[in-house]
Amino acid sequence: MSSDIIDVEILREIGRIANSDIHIDERLKVIISVIIEKTGADASSILLLDQHDNNLIFKATQGLNPDLINKIRIPVDKGIVGYVVRNKEIVALSVAADDPRFEPVPGIGEERFKSVLAVPILHKGLAIGLIYNQTVAEKTYTKREIELLEVIAEQVTGVIRNSQLYEKTCQHLSSLLSLNYFNERVNSSTNTGDLLNDLAGESLKMVKGDASVVWIVAEDKLVPMAHAGGDIGGPVIYEPIKIGEGLIGKVAEERKGLIVNSPDVWGEDMFVRAASPKAVIVVPLLVGKKVVGVLAVADKVGAERGDYIGFEPEELEILSSLSVYAAMAINRLDIYKKLERVSAEREKKIKELAILHEIGVAIQTVPDFNTLIRLILGCITVGDGLGFNRAMLFLVNDETNMLEGTMGLGPDSMDEAVDIWRSMPKIDNLVKWLLTHDYKDQGTGTHLNNLVKNIRVPIDSSGGILPMTLIKGKSFNVPDASQHPYIDRDFIEKIGTNSFAVVPIIVREQHIGVILVDNCYTEKEITEGDIEYLVHFTSYIGLAIHNRRLFKKLRESHNDILVIQNKLLRSEKLSALGELTAELVHELKNPLMVIGGLTRRIISNPNIDPDKYDRYNRAIQDEVSRIEKLLKEIQTNSRLVTTELAETDINMLIEDIIFFYEHTSRDRMVDIVKELSNDVGRCLIDADRFKQVIINLVHNSMDAMPGGGTLTIKTEPVKDDYNNGIMLTVMDTGTGIPPNVIDRIFDPFFTTKDDGTGLGLAMSKKIVEAHGGTIDYRGRPGGGAIFTIYIPKVGEGSMLVQANISSKKVRHH
């Protein structure tokens, strides 16, 4: 077996490891066994650098003492291993003990080995660790062997980076799951102490922190109420903190969460001094604009494991979401307590609290945004709920910067109102009733809904009461609209009522809309108590919208990982557009050299032989056509940057293409077999670009079967824990691709055809990747090529359901 083939095999095997979903420690273990098998070393180990204390940690080994994995830490100024990492230099020694740098590590079992080959693992110019090979016998390492280990080390960098990304995604998805459970729990909790302990514990788990503290606002102070995790500095931090003082007090004052990953910027702070963490996330507990407390999580876990990576913005995002749920529950319990003292109102209010709880659960279980909004407005208007006669929702459109009517719910006339209230049965569970009852008709088709949807006002003082509520972020109770400075006669006539209330919807400091309610039929007075509850309801609308954005983000980051994994698997060299340009320059230089070179000869030899002259001209003409052909191909292939996505039926697209090829395939004696699944549905793609991908593959397959054969095109849905998309397979019975060039088939300008430009597959890959998909080749047993394309479905409507499915089944590492 030639050494080239060994190289390719190793790369492929490590690529497979990079793409598997096992824990990094396991991955390194598998890589070590590959190294032992392929390089013939008697012992091989991987050590990684902890950048925080400059120690090398013994991460994986075969041949040395495996009990010491993750236990031995070697300072980077010691031994051969330290030398390799410090100097980013390869060390090859036939007898290591003769070298002055050699310092054996006790207990590790190095004594029986003689030779050493140590290669640094580099990432972005920094050494992040090394591979350390040893043999029992003396051994002089050849250039080839050293290069091989160097190539492996490059791959290991990818594996490590990939693992970190992968584990982060898993962590994010599992955080989302915890968030759901937490919300369910806090909604049924009736004890503030339990709730706060739960919050402290949950926050710790979600971001893998080491310790957490929850403070609650009492007058102008933050009083520590709960903590979880390890040592957090003893009694010092249990003193109340003034709002505005220190890191914690500032977060309460500014009502904005933050991440601090570097201890230097903390300055003098009581909490920091006492807890001395390496990084903290601090978030305020907000209900609308009101601060009810602060949550802080300190990280130390990572540092001890040796792969400390600090906090990420996504983690702040997750904790902020957690804090919104917690703050609302705290606020609810606060109100609940006050209520217990007022026994007259008690029963009604408890019912309202029960509805709040139900809505909290509904947000997690009702996937469709419109249904959810209708449900919430239903709770506000249906008799047993808050009992307003009508509710109108207006949301900010960020693109137009207008406040736009989104939904109106309520009867259109007094008669209708009476009918509805009379026909409504006695309801035990309002939310359940609203979800099962066909109340949709009385929502979306009505005069009121149409009226609301036609209201659109600019977000400034000219727009009247609606934008003013939004801008000021406070509620307006308007008993007599005709006397109100922000309201004109037109508006009163349009909505048909003179008394109403408008409440802002605020989530995480963002003012996203307003709700207007009235009692135009019963003419019941709107009380301050009513408004307090309404404010509470609006935070659920805010959350529903926020949740939708969060799910979308997680979904996207998951897709990013799939793309990265695929890139690593192929260990491709030419991915960026810049490199594509470099290749293009290369491709143009050859014909230009011929054209220029021969022209120069013609000019400098006026008495040139006529035959020669003809030959020169022919060559020049050849090369000019070649450039023209290349440019044409680029023109048709490179509109990639502006991808226009549209809902497309992939099966239809394929039918169209096959129709186009029917004639050609008959001429070439190629049978086209379609296996198109009816379950693939539609997906969001750029149909023109994608068509080109399929045409490229069909074209290649035809070329590969000069004597005829079978071309199979297959589509099937793919749905599991991590994927929801479509798999497209193009298979032929042709000559296949020679094993030695498989790794290069997706490289730009690589071709095996005499008249090929080498752009077809390269561009196909770019198009598929621009869709967040992957394209792969494998040989067909018995001869021929199989290309598979995976395209993820990214649909607005399916997103919530998707994120729920993936989060519930996520595996923990």
Binding site: H586, N590, M593, G596, G597, R615, A619, N740
Partner: protein, 122 residues
Amino acid sequence: MGKKCILVVDDEENIRFLYNEELHDMGFSVELAKNAAEAEEKLRDKKPDLIILDIKMPDVDGIELLNRIRSNDTTTPIIISSAYNDYKQDFNVWGAEAYVVKSSDLTELKGEIKRILWGDNP
């Protein structure tokens, strides 16, 4: 003493043709090979005085061919002539005598040939 012989290895027919014309004019005898296999066959028959080698070729590329040549012949001078700019610093690591970026102006290539075969100072 006969003419000095130069072996040109390049996968592009018109490029080989251009080299052939220019090198003949300079008074060399020229051998042409369109890939590594042809080059190795010609090398077995006769050892040239100089080899001009392209990098990007299908199957075995120029760098790999250079490695193969150097594994049993460390003396025949080799000039790499490629359209790539990027490898220019690396040629002596591979054991080549010179690296010339392809251009329609062959002055630099000719200069290197003269320096290597005739000891001229460019």
